[in-house]
Amino acid sequence: MSAGKKKRITGVVTRARIAPESKSDHVGVVLRTDDGKEYVLRRIGGNAFRDDELEKMVGETITGTGLVTGRTFVMNDWIVKKSD
């Protein structure tokens, strides 16, 4: 799997079940976008299964910059949208 182009994706950080019934079935954090897409969310270098920094953002709308690989969005950077 080769590195693609960096993307900016905006969505709501949500807790969700990832890889159900698999060896790596767990509750993790996903990014849900307005167009209905859902990405498993990761910080580059972060723990793929439990990342407290991402947990803190659950419920927030963020715009992340990073790479999409398969079902995962690996973020280098992100901005949290301020509440209205």
């Binding site: 698999s22 767990h26 509750v27 439990r50 995962t72």
Partner: protein, 506 residues
């Protein structure tokens, strides 16, 4: 007579590593060909991007290195012409692509299943359906460079590892390292008992990085941990804690030369570009760079229960058992796949995915364990090992086709399942505590391999598989947010239940 072919796409190698890199690789390949000759193997290097070469095999050259279909057509033509005992794919999927097979278990959200399985099957390319390639007949392995690299030192190192490899006494491989996520310790104990006749397993937590690097000296390694997409780490688990069990840095510092590794972990053999992971290599690449003979792992999300053995547990066990019995790592992989197809219900989509996703990294002709009994020593004076190997290939090719012919496979989803079966399965599921709403139940036709299909037809029977999924939170789950997930798979013939299996989230 050619025993082994090294297949590559020189145009793709040149694009990846430039002319100088290609020349370095070709020099390393010549060393491997010479080393194989000394071991009694006639090896040929074949460039599937070269028109003149491919004309000899009556097939077009590969014009698009990203096309798995073109690569398979070329490899099929070479195989038909030479019937080699070993096929080696030289470099990663950016040179010889994986197939992007359909995911039989789409709810895990893997977009596709990158797979080398079709290269190991005589079935020509026709579809992305993994069942098409379940007749596994060929010994195939991949010597992978680093995805996205621009210089070839890793690939060259791996080719030289293969050239310099020497088999060892079986006893050397009986000392093992096994690591398990704490929540799967019972399953892992069962696996290592089946492989090594011993239940000792390192559990994470408490074991884990960085201390694990001091535990990595044994030549046989079995890993049953969590793995993530584009992730250079594996993880343990205890409750909702997922500590890092090992990293590619641990492997680089602690793993021995000549190791043989089977990893059940999700994405354990995913060959990702390290630039996606802050420059850290995949654990599989790290093992091979440390001098491992082979790594058997999964490209995507894998499956197996917490306490018993199924799916990934079985196919990895079979692989190591075959290696310890004296098989080359390529034959160990082939026979693991064949045993899995012949012994498991391939109608189960989870089993179909398991077959598609596990792949062998390393030169498949390497034979780690020498079986040195007095009888074997006496026989070595009279046995023609090349002829014996070719005879085994005849038997294995027939066995692979027979296994697939005798199996059922998941077919199309049934839009309107028979009410009687639907209600029967729902009542069974509810008796077992499933919620089993209509939306939670999916039914599929079973399609057979040739013999299986003929028998179904001759007997006038129709088979289906019904899958019930239950997602809810148990008592503990409500407190910590972890859902309880259960799956019930019901096999039916003529709308009568014949077998019910239950899977539980680990």
């Amino acid at each position: 007579m050619v025993d082994k072919i090294l297949v590559t796409n020189a145009a793709a190698l040149k694009a990846k590593y430039a002319n100088r890199g290609l020349r370095t690789i070709q020099a390393a390949v010549r060393e491997l060909v010479a080393a194989d000759k000394a071991r009694g193997l006639a090896t040929r290097f074949v460039d599937i991007s070269d028109h003149a070469t491919m004309r000899r095999y009556k097939a077009p050259a590969v014009s698009n290195p990203k096309s798995a279909r073109q690569s398979k057509d070329a490899i099929d033509a070479i195989y038909r012409a030479m019937k080699p005992d070993y096929i080696v794919l030289v470099d990663g999927p950016d040179v010889i692509p994986h197939f992007a097979l359909n995911n039989p278990v789409p709810k895990d959200k893997d977009v596709e299943v990158p797979s080398d399985l079709p290269y190991a099957s005589d079935s020509p390319y026709s579809t992305r359906d993994a069942a098409r390639y379940a007749a596994v007949t060929r010994v195939v392995g991949r010597i992978p460079g680093i995805s996205g690299a621009s210089e070839p030192s890793h690939l060259v190192k791996l080719i030289r590892t293969a050239a310099n490899f020497k088999s060892r006494r079986r006893a050397d491989y009986l000392r093992y390292f096994a690591m398990s996520a704490s929540v799967w310790s019972k399953s892992t104990e069962l696996s290592v008992d089946n492989i090594f006749g011993n239940k000792a397993v390192r559990i994470c937590p408490p074991s884990g990085t960085p201390g694990v690097r001091r535990m990595l000296s044994p030549l046989s390694q079995f890993i049953n941990c969590h793995g993530g997409e584009v992730d250079p780490q594996f993880y343990g688990q205890s409750g909702q804690r997922y500590p890092v069990s090992m990293t590619s840095d641990d492997v680089a510092k602690g793993a021995p030369r000549n190791a043989i590794v089977a990893a059940e972990c999700c994405f354990g053999a995913q060959l990702f570009d390290p630039s996606l992971a802050m420059g850290k290599w995949p654990i599989s690449n790290a093992y091979l760079a440390a001098g491992a003979a082979g790594f058997f792992g999964s490209s995507t999300t894998a499956y197996g229960p917490a306490d018993g053995n199924s799916g990934a547990d079985l196919i990895t066990q079979y692989f190591l058992i075959n290696v310890l019995a004296g098989a080359s790592i390529g034959r160990a992989c082939l026979q693991a796949r064949q045993k899995f197809v012949s012994g498991q219900k391939m109608e189960d989509p989870v089993n179909m995915k398991t077959l598609a996703q596990f792949l062998l990294l390393g030169d498949p002709s390497l034979q780690p364990c020498l079986i040195e009994t007095p009888d074997a020593r006496a026989a070595s004076k009279v046995i023609d090992y090349a002829a014996a190997r070719r005879t085994r290939r005849v038997a294995l090719s027939a066995a692979g086709k027979a296994a697939a012919d005798s199996s059922g496979f998941p077919g199309k989803k049934i839009v309107r399942p028979p009410k009687v079966l639907h209600n029967l399965v729902r009542s069974v599921a509810r008796r077992r505590g499933f919620r089993a709403r209509t939306d939670d139940i999916d039914s599929f036709h079973i399609v057979g391999g040739a013999q299986y299909g003929n028998e179904m037809k001759a007997r006038g029977v129709e088979q289906k598989v019904v899958v019930v999924t239950d997602h809810r939170k148990d008592g503990a789950g409500r407190r910590n947010g972890a859902p309880l997930i259960r799956i019930l798979v019901a096999h039916a013939q003529d709308n009568r239940l014949i077998h019910v299996a239950e899977y539980v989230r680990r």
